[in-house]
Every structure is written in C-alpha cells, then in structure tokens.
C-alpha cells in the first residue's frame, strides 16, 4: 500500500458526517471550539493590559526650596505619575517595600543650591522597585526624561541657552493610540487557533484507537487518504467557524480595527490551521492515547504559541538561541501576519514571507501525519 489509495466521495462523506455528529454531540468539542475562544479573547482583550497607566511614585522633598517645588510640580503634573508625597525616608521605603509605590524620588536638602550651581544631578536620588523590571525601567527612563525637560525649561526661563537637546516626540504607527488590545487580540486569535487545531484534533484519532473503532474502520475498504481527510476537513471547518467568531468578536465587540483584506486573512488562517491540525493529528496518531496526545499538544503547540510567537513577549528582546527557536514555531508567522492584517493592512512583503512559512509548515505537519497514518496496526511505517 504505497499509494494512499483513491478517494471515494461517498465513503469520505460518510466519514465526515460521522465526525460531524461526534463534534456536535460531544460537549467538550463545542466547548473548545466556541466557548473557549470567546473566553480567551475576553481575557486577552480586557483582562490583560500591557498599557502603562499611572504609576504610584513617592516623593520626599528635603529641600523645600523654589527649585525643588518646581520640579515636584512637574512630577505631579505628569499624567503617568500618581504622586504621593512622603514625610521621611523610612516611611517611603516601607511603602516601596510593601509595593504601594513603585519608586521614590528624593530631593536632598541641598537640591536647590546644587541646581543653581548646575550640579543638580548630585542632589536627586531615584529608587525604583526592581521586582517589576518593566515598570522600573520605564519609570527610570521617564524620570530621566522629565529631569532633562525640566532642566532645559529652567534654563530657557532664565534666558540661558539651553543645552542642545533633541526633542523626541514619539509617534506610533499602525497602533496610533498604543492600545495593547489591538495587538493582543490578533495575537490571541493565533493562540485560539492553535488550541482548536492541535488540542481538539489531538484527541480525535487517539479516541478512535482507545475505543477500538479504528480497528473496525481499518478492516473496511476505507483508504488512507479518506481516513486522513475525514479527520482534517471537519475540524478545518470547525476551526474556520471559530476563527470567524473570533474576528467578529474582536472587530464588532472589542473595536479592534481590521485593515487588511478578508481573503488574505482567510488564506493565512487556513494555512495556519492546516499546520496546527497536522501537528494535532500527528501527535494523536503517534501516541494513540488521548491523555498523552493532549499533554503533548499543550506542550508542543499551546505553550510555544503563547511564549514564542511574539504575541506577548517581544521576540527581539529574547536571548539569541530562543530567538532562533521561534523560527520553528508556526504561530510566530501567523501572529506576525495577523498583527499586520489587523493593524497595518495588506503589507505584501510581510504577508508574503509569513504565508510562505505557513505554507511550508502546513505541508510539513500534514505530510508527516500522512506518512504516519498506516493502514495497519503495526507501529512501523506502511511497508
């Protein structure tokens, strides 16, 4: 049986119909396909928020001079800082320790004098909570910025020529309001597609083995191609319906923009779903055990899709070996394509590259599954 065998449409349809009944009647597949995506979407869309809102900052003004008051006013005026004025170092340190403030600024008693001498740097101390590195480094650079701005402002007020400074005005393209939801939601769609593709399908072939139905099927005239297609087509359809659901929820309910074209979204999703389905089926075919297959699917598909796809964690800030590993994760290309389609539109170079990788990945996993799908029970490959 080298050739996969011809496909008889009637048998294929019968198998797909059977698969359909099983999907519809099994509450867990409905749960995974329709409830889980919406729940995940809401968690990622509303629950997780990477935007910087105001950070609580403690201020101890030991100087009390005009200069110190002026700088304190700048701090208090910042929309990103929620300023708490402290009375003593120990009190503020305690607040820092218990996490009620994320950092503290101390203006020492000689602050005004030093500023007037142009040695202000020596008199200002910034302490940040290193247990939250992202917040700490944000605070650190933000405070530096404020300090520079205040210094040059002061200089120009006094009619002095300000030290040359480049004015930096950040402008974020493609996500002008920097709402993290706009890139988290497309990213989470990729996680959802991974779950549906790999987790759901990892169960279906293994289930047939466990319940002994695979043996019965294999003893009928069913061909390998029919068997494989009957496992792919229904779940592809299910996945695409879930995808549609996700897109509708994201755009209509959550207000995430979709700037790219729908047909491209369709192609990219199909390819990704193909590779995801392929991986799930492969695991299920190889393990022949639902529990092991599901565990393997979570480890091999879900975790990389969350951690290594660049959906939450920036790939460029990963250590080089990990960055290299991300090239093996199909979700990486899907996330990139989705974020492009949702936020930037049809950016051809990006999309073409990602599509090519997805095409390769889908072919790889599905091909491997086809190779491993035997027409006999022996573990070895079909002779």
């Amino acid at each position: 049986m080298k050739r996969p065998g011809r496909i008889d449409p009637r048998r294929l349809l019968a198998l797909c119909r059977k698969e359909g009944y099983q999907i519809v009647r099994d509450p867990s597949s409905i749960l995974i396909a329709f409830v889980l995506p919406v729940v995940l979407l809401f968690i990622f869309g509303y629950g997780i928020n990477l935007d910087t809102s105001s950070i609580r900052l403690g201020l101890l003004d030991e100087d009390g001079g005009a200069e110190a008051r002026s700088f304190a006013a700048v701090l208090a005026g910042s929309p990103f800082i929620d300023l708490r004025v402290g009375l003593s170092r120990p009190a503020l340190r305690e607040e820092l320790e218990n996490g009620s403030i994320k950092g503290m600024v101390v203006l020492s008693s000689d602050f005004s004098a030093k500023v007037r001498q142009g040695k202000g740097e020596a008199a200002i101390q910034v302490l940040t909570d290193g247990s939250e590195p992202n917040t700490a480094s944000f605070l650190d650079s933000y405070l530096q910025g404020l300090w520079q701005v205040w210094l040059s402002q002061r200089a120009s007020d006094q009619g002095l020529k300000a030290p040359t400074m480049t004015s930096l005005e950040p402008r974020f393209w493609f996500n002008p309001t920097t709402v993290s939801r706009n890139f988290l939601v497309p990213g989470s769609i990729s996680v959802i597609m991974t779950v549906i593709g790999a987790l759901l399908t990892s169960l279906v072939v293994a289930r047939e083995w466990e319940r002994g139905t695979m043996e019965a099927l294999l003893s009928t005239p069913v061909t390998r191609a029919e068997l494989l297609l009957s496992k792919i087509l229904p779940y592809y359809l299910l996945g695409m319906v879930a995808m549609l659901l996700c897109v509708l929820v994201a755009t209509l309910l959550m207000g995430v923009p979709l700037r790219g074209s729908l047909w491209l979204l369709f192609i990219v999703s199909s390819l990704f779903l193909g590779s995801s389905l392929g991986l799930g089926l492969l695991l299920s075919t190889v393990t022949r055990n639902q529990f092991v297959a599901a565990q393997a699917a979570l480890t091999a598909a879900f975790l990389p899709a969350t951690m290594l796809s660049g959906f939450v964690f920036e790939i460029s800030s990963m250590p080089p070996p990990v960055q290299a590993a991300t090239y093996l994760v199909p979700a990486r290309y899907f996330v990139s394509a989705l974020q492009t389609l949702f936020q930037a539109g049809d950016v051809w170079p990006v999309l073409a590259l990602n599509t090519a990788f997805l095409l390769f990945s889908a072919g790889f996993w599905l091909g491997l599954t086809a190779l491993k799908t035997g027409r006999r029970l022996d573990r070895d490959r079909v002779a």
Binding site: M1, G5, D8, R10, R11, L13, A14, L15, R17, K18, Y21, Q22, R25, D26, R211, G212, T213, E215, A216, L217, L218, S219, T220, P221, V222, R375, R376, L377, D378, A383
Partner: protein, 582 residues
C-alpha cells in the same frame, strides 16, 4: 473450492519489541463452520485475528484468507472480510441507525440492497425498535448485536469475531451464538475467539492456544474423546468438600480436580484408574460417577494437568480468630441494601448474610448491580438506604475500621505496574498498617510462599500472568484479614492459574477466612458455597449452586449446567415482570 480451507496459515510468526506473540503457527480453518479460537489472555488470539484481518503483518510465514494474502491483497480482501474487534467497533455517540449508515457507506452497500440489508439485519438482531438510540446507551448484548450487524453489512464471506462475548451476559451470548450459527449454515466462514471454554465447546472446530502456541486444532469432540473415561464426579460427600478435593488432588491417579457445587469433578491420569475412595475421606456414602468430558478438562490435560491441591499460603496463614461479640453466622451482612443514582435504582433491597469460612458468590449480567453491591460492601459507596456490615461494623459509620478487616483484590490486578514486586509488597503492606518487623516478616513470608524471590526487582507489569495473580493475592492478604473480597479475580487468566488461585482461596477458607467473590465464569460460580444471583438490581435467587440448578431444572430433565440455570432463572424473572405489568 468449497472443500478447501477458507484460511490457510503456514509457519506464521509474530514478534514485537517485547517478545514473541505467535510461535510458528500451522493450521487450516475450515469453510462454512464456526471455528473457536480459544485461550487465556496473552495466548495470541487477538494477534492472530489481526493478522488474518490484515491489520498486522506477520513477521514470518504465509497466510491466505479466502485465497488472498491479507497484506499484499488487502484491498480485495476487505471486500470479503468482516472483522468485529473487541468492544465491537461502534461509535457510542452515534445512534444505531447512524452507525449502520456509516458502515453501509464504508462497505459500499447502496441502492435497493441498502434498504433490504438494513431491514434484514435489524430484524435479525432485533434492534428495529432502537434505531434512534445512541449506541453508547445500549446494553452490552445489544451493542454486541449492533457490532455484528455493522460487520455483516458488507456481506462478508469470512467473519472474524474477536471476543464477542466479553462483558455480555449469558443470555445475550446465547442469542449471538444462534445468530452466528445461522450465518455459518448459510455458508459463512466464522472465527470466534473466546476465553470461555464452555463457549468453545459448541464450535465445530477449536484452536486451543496458550502463550503464543497452538496446543490443539480439531473438533471439540475428538479432543474430549481423549478424555473419555477419565472424567469422574465424586458425589454425596460428607464433610468438607474442600478438604476432600485437597486429598484427591494429592492422589497420584488424579491429574486435575475442581469443585462442582456439592460434588467434586476429577480428571484421571489414565482411564479406569480411579483413586481409592477410602483415602479421600469423603464419607461412607460417597461414590464416583463417570461424566461427560468438557473442553476445559482436555485443555488443562493438554497443559500438563492441574497445579495440585497444596496451598503453601494456607499452611502459612494462622487460623483466623473471631472476636467475642462478632456473630460468626453474619461475618458479612447486607440488609435491604439500596442504591439509587437519580431515578435509576442500581440495587433494590438486596439482603444476604455470609457466615465464617464460607465463599459467597455474586453472579449477574453486566449492569445488574453486582459491582454496586460489591462497592457498598467494601465501604467505597454509601448506600441510599439499608445497611452493609462486616463483622458487626457498619461500613457507613466505621468504614475505615471495617476496611481493615478486609483484603481486597480487584479485577485485572490493581497493582502498580511500574513499581517492582518488592515495592508493591512494601506499599500495600504499608497502607494496610503493617510496620517494622511485622511488615518485614510478612513480606518475607509472601515472597517465600509465592516464590517471588527471582522477581523482586521486576516491574509488576512485566510479570508473567500467573505471578501477577500471585502478587495481587499476596498484596490483598498480607495483613491477614478475616475477610477477603474478590472482584472478578480470574477474568482473562488461564485455567491452570485459575486453579492455583482457587487452591489458595480454598486453603484460606479452611482457615476460617470468609470470602465474597464476583464472577462471570459460570463454572467458577460452582466453587462457591452459596450464590446470590443479581438481576436488574434485585437478588432474584440465592442458595447453593446445586440448589439453584435444581430450581431451574424442569421435570424429567437431567442435571443442567450452571450457565443454563442462570439463563433460565433470569428468564423466569423477566416472565414474572411481564406478568406484573400485564
């Protein structure tokens, strides 16, 4: 071609990573008859079936099924072959009709042939009323019939049935037998694999397999013929029949012996050389009668005879003591034990008492309430009403104290397969509260009694079947419990191992241990002192095996088998229910 063999097997071997499942098999399977493929678990039945179905490729040798090679001519063979795997190959969430539709499409049964096949098969299997019911909601017997119907859809010439009667009660088994008989009469070649020797007895031909080897191929009758004159029954025994059995098995003339109700069945090494009755101390009235040989007698004989009557275990175990205040007539007692699951009444006012040193058997079809009763008696499930007591302790209120009195051996050996024998022994003695020197001594004793020394470092899962059973038993009795609960302890075990097991149990009973056992082997039921027959949640009959058989025997009839008695008692009960409804 009609007289040629339907299946020709020549030097077929099957090897896998862990060993050899089939050693060079040579046999022909006749056309148009039912051939029984018989043997315990691990004998190689399923492997052979799968090779015939083209699902496995033989490592060596040649096989032709209906003239076709199952590997190279698989596509053609599939059109002529019906294969029903264990568990019947049904989709449980599809209805009866949907299952039929699926298999009809897969087998290419279309057009007018389709409707007529459906009509014919639904009538044949009596499933026409249930077409809309999901297969998962059918009883074991109905699933089995549906599985058969789906397999028959392609109108196969060769039908392979892999253990079709596992988990199916004797009544459904008999119906299936009749149906398959009709098919064979119509010219179909049928291979039926089974672990039940009484079932195999009715096949036209049998292939007896053990440990991957073919022990016998031929008609059951010619096998039994060898045993002619060698099978006797010792009747009218006064005194303990277990002690008599033990003495009989010690006699050099006896190769095998088992209890059969009040009597003892003996197999002689040579025809017409019976043991001396005086030596057996069976009482003055005892006499020997020649009985018809059974397939099991022949099988045990083929395997070299029974294991003998000595239980080293029983010699090692002390006589169990009964504390004052414990009623020896009610070591185990169930009083109007009822358990409901929602609207469903799993057990309905079941009552029984087991006295000290008695073996009480719970018998019944799957889903009748046997396991539910068993679980309540172990304190694993609380009754909805009624009480379950062991040695006067209520299992509801003092479950943990009561459970310490019980040794429990579950179906299919609830051992940790990936722990070594030594680790299993130490774990199970530990959870039964054995510590320190006592624990070490008990473990050492078990290792000595059951000859486990060479296997101490072996993983329990890799043990030979017989030793697995020994280990399971030793784990259950290390704490020397006065009560022993056995849940289908010998399912899937070869007859020799089963005999050895019962020798130990009999020995323990002689020491005053009280035993409660569930089983679906009808001949095993005859080892019990008393049986409770559970059907549809109620105990429809209780008494000694002989009494139940008498109860079901019709006037003018010779003694019937336990299986027949079971079927009749269940049918009587069905009849009474019908009357009540009418």
């Amino acid at each position: 071609m009609n007289d040629a063999a339907a299946i020709i097997i020549r030097a077929v071997q099957y090897r896998f990573d862990g060993g050899t499942a089939l050693h060079a098999l040579d046999v022909d399977i006749r056309r148009s008859v039912i051939t029984g493929l018989v043997g315990p678990d691990g004998a190689g039945k399923t492997t052979l079936m799968r090779i015939m179905a083209g699902l496995l490729k033989a490592s060596a040798g040649q096989i032709l099924v209906d003239g076709l090679d199952p590997v190279t001519e698989a596509a053609e063979l599939r059109l002529r072959l019906g294969y029903m795997p264990q568990k019947f190959g049904l989709y449980e969430d599809l209805t009866v009709q949907e299952n039929l539709d699926l298999y009809a499409d897969l087998h290419g049964v279309l057009g007018p042939a389709r409707a007529s096949s459906f009509a014919h098969l639904l009538a044949f299997t009596d499933l026409a009323r249930f077409t809309g019911r999901p297969a998962g909601k059918l009883s074991g017997g109905m699933k089995q019939k549906l599985g058969l119907a789906c397999t028959l859809l392609g109108s196969p010439r060769v039908l392979l049935l892999d253990e079709p009667s596992v988990g199916v009660d004797p009544i459904s088994r008999r119906e299936l037998w009749k149906m398959v008989g009709t098919l064979a009469d119509a010219g179909m070649t049928i291979v039926w694999s089974t672990a039940y020797l009484d079932e195999a007895e009715r096949c036209s031909e049998v292939l007896l397999m053990n440990a991957g080897r073919l022990e016998y191929a031929g008609t059951p009758a010619s096998l039994s013929e060898r045993m002619q004159g060698r099978c006797l029954q010792l009747r009218n025994i006064v005194g303990s029949r277990r002690e008599v059995l033990q003495k009989a098995l010690r006699a050099p003339e006896v190769s095998d012996g088992v209890l059969q109700g009040e009597s003892i069945r003996l197999v002689l090494r040579r025809a017409d050389e019976p043991p001396q009755l005086d030596g057996l101390q069976a009482g003055p009235e005892a006499y020997l009668v020649e009985v018809r040989p059974r397939l099991e007698d022949a099988f045990v004989d083929l395997l070299g005879g029974g294991p003998g009557g000595e239980s080293v275990l029983a010699e090692h175990m002390p006589e169990t003591r009964v504390d004052r205040g414990v009623d020896a007539a009610a070591m185990i007692s169930a009083d109007a034990l009822t358990r409901r699951f929602g609207d469903f009444v799993a057990t309905d006012r079941i009552s029984f008492r087991v006295r000290r040193g008695e073996i009480f058997g719970l018998l019944g079809p799957n889903g009748a309430g046997k396991s539910t009763t068993f679980k309540m008696m172990c304190g694993l499930l609380a009754p909805s009403s009624g009480t379950a007591q062991v040695m006067g302790l209520d299992l509801k209120t003092s479950a943990s104290h009561a459970r310490r009195q019980i040794g429990y051996m579950a179906q299919k050996f609830a051992l940790y397969g990936n722990l070594s024998v030594a680790q299993n022994l130490s774990f199970f003695s530990g959870i039964y509260g054995l510590r320190g020197d006592i624990q070490a001594k008990q473990i050492a004793d078990m290792v000595r009694v059951f000859e486990l020394q060479p296997f101490l470092a072996t993983q329990a899962g890799a043990l030979p079947l017989g030793f697995k059973q020994r280990l399971a038993l030793s784990c259950a009795i290390m704490h020397q419990p006065p009560l022993l609960f056995l849940d289908e302890p010998t399912s899937g075990v070869d007859p020799i191992t089963r005999r050895e097991f019962w020798t130990h149990i009999n020995g323990l009973v002689e020491k005053g241990v009280t035993v409660m056992v569930t089983t679906h082997f009808m001949d095993e039921a005859e080892y019990c002192d008393r049986i409770g027959l559970i059907y549809r949640g109620r105990m429809i009959a209780a008494g000694t095996p002989d009494r139940l058989k008498q109860q079901a025997t019709r006037a003018g009839e010779e003694e019937i088998t336990m299986a027949e008695a079971f079927i009749r008692l269940v049918e009587q009960d069905d009849g009474q229910r019908e009357e009540l409804r009418a």
